[in-house]
Amino acid sequence: MSTPIIIEKTKSSPEIILDKDNSKFKIAGRSIVEDPNEFYSPIYKWLEEYIKSPLDTTEFVFDLEYFNSSSARQIMEIIMLLEKIIATGKKVKVLWMYEEEDEMSKERGDEIKLVSKLDFEIVEYPAEDF
């Protein structure tokens, strides 16, 4: 049992779900926070605990519409924490979601995939209808 972290999204920060019991791990929305350290530090703390006894397979969803360059580093930090799980023999899968035609989000995903050691899948989903 571990206490999940669930943070609702705002205009400048993403939605966060870190829920081991329901095996849901997700960051979604927009991250343009100016001081990302403050926002992301509870997430690191949670993940540092989690990687000590992770699930057999951790499926981590990134569905980021937009993030600024200082958030890019925080996202990478999360990826690097997840990389530590592989060393224990357990599996990690990253699903990088982007809305169709959103080339920038796709490119950013491609780039992070390139520098990460994780099983990394880039997934397109259809644009929302209004």
């Binding site: 100016e34 937009y66 580093r73 990478m76 959103d102 989000s105 780039e111």
Partner: protein, 363 residues
Amino acid sequence: MTTNTIFEFYKLLEKDNISFAYRGSFSNNVLTMVTQLFKENLGEEHDRLRNKLSFLMIESFQNISRYTEKEEVILLDETSEFFMTRNVGDIFYIISANLINNDKIPSVREKLERVNTLDKSELNKLYREVLTNKQINEKGGAGLGFIEMVRKTRGKLPFDFVEVDDKQSMFFMQIELSASSEEEITTTDSIPLNDAKQIQKLISKENILMLHKGDFSSEAVEPLLRMFEENMQNVSLKKHKKIFHFLVEILQNISKHSFTIDGKHEGIFQLGYENGKFHIGTGNFIANHEILYFKNLIESVNSKTKDELNELYRKYLREGKETKTGSAGLGLIDLARETDDNIIYDFNEINSDYSFFSLTVNF
């Protein structure tokens, strides 16, 4: 647009606590966001002014659409509609400019001259008369808008017509609102309308769509971003995202790194569109001892190829949050790799402590 222009605008707006100028067609969204921008910049002491200010901005906007002659503005030029609001000292100004047919000028002039000479009770009387008058013409204007403006401001409405050709002119009008008292504003202590005309001219010449001077602390950047998003609905997602990206990086750069004067991150921001390219320009103060750092950083980023920039970005990325590299580094690299042109910059020394730092990117 050149970086010199940013400094030129800064000098024109030097005394402004906040100013916002916009060229092109208007929507209520723009209005809502301008109000928000002023709210964030002005703080609570101006709370009671806000409603009045919004009301007058609405009147001024509607005035533009009521009198403007263009059916559809496709390309912006020196006759595009212009709107500006600024606060200098104790006075708020709302300036509008739009195209008007020359044959309408005498009647508009007459209405304005009339309201400008009336005192309070005469204005109230005229207001009631016009309200009950059944013969108001189809454009809705027997000058009711003008009467309202004067009643709300207790000042005069400076105006002017600048001839474009033998058929049309640009109609300039300025509303003045005092923040501190209900006293009438005397023309001697207010900024002349000519100032606004000069700014409008420069904005047109430099193909600027939006110009903002004010505080660039993070709370103040938020409404600016939102305003932008609201007005980008017609632009393709790809372009939209890119512009948004540039805006975030560049505005947050100001709020993070600029020299603070009186607790404010004062800066200027402009967005333009010319020859199929957008350009974003910013100007802010930086401490003189930081000039060399930024100069070297930009020079180094400018000298790199796209591949080198990508490689550098990825290297920094894996350094994660523990990185020693200044965060301006990553942001600038990111800007540079998304644009085909070099980042243009300039420094103008203000005094022995700080300088004016201007930066432009095209994309």
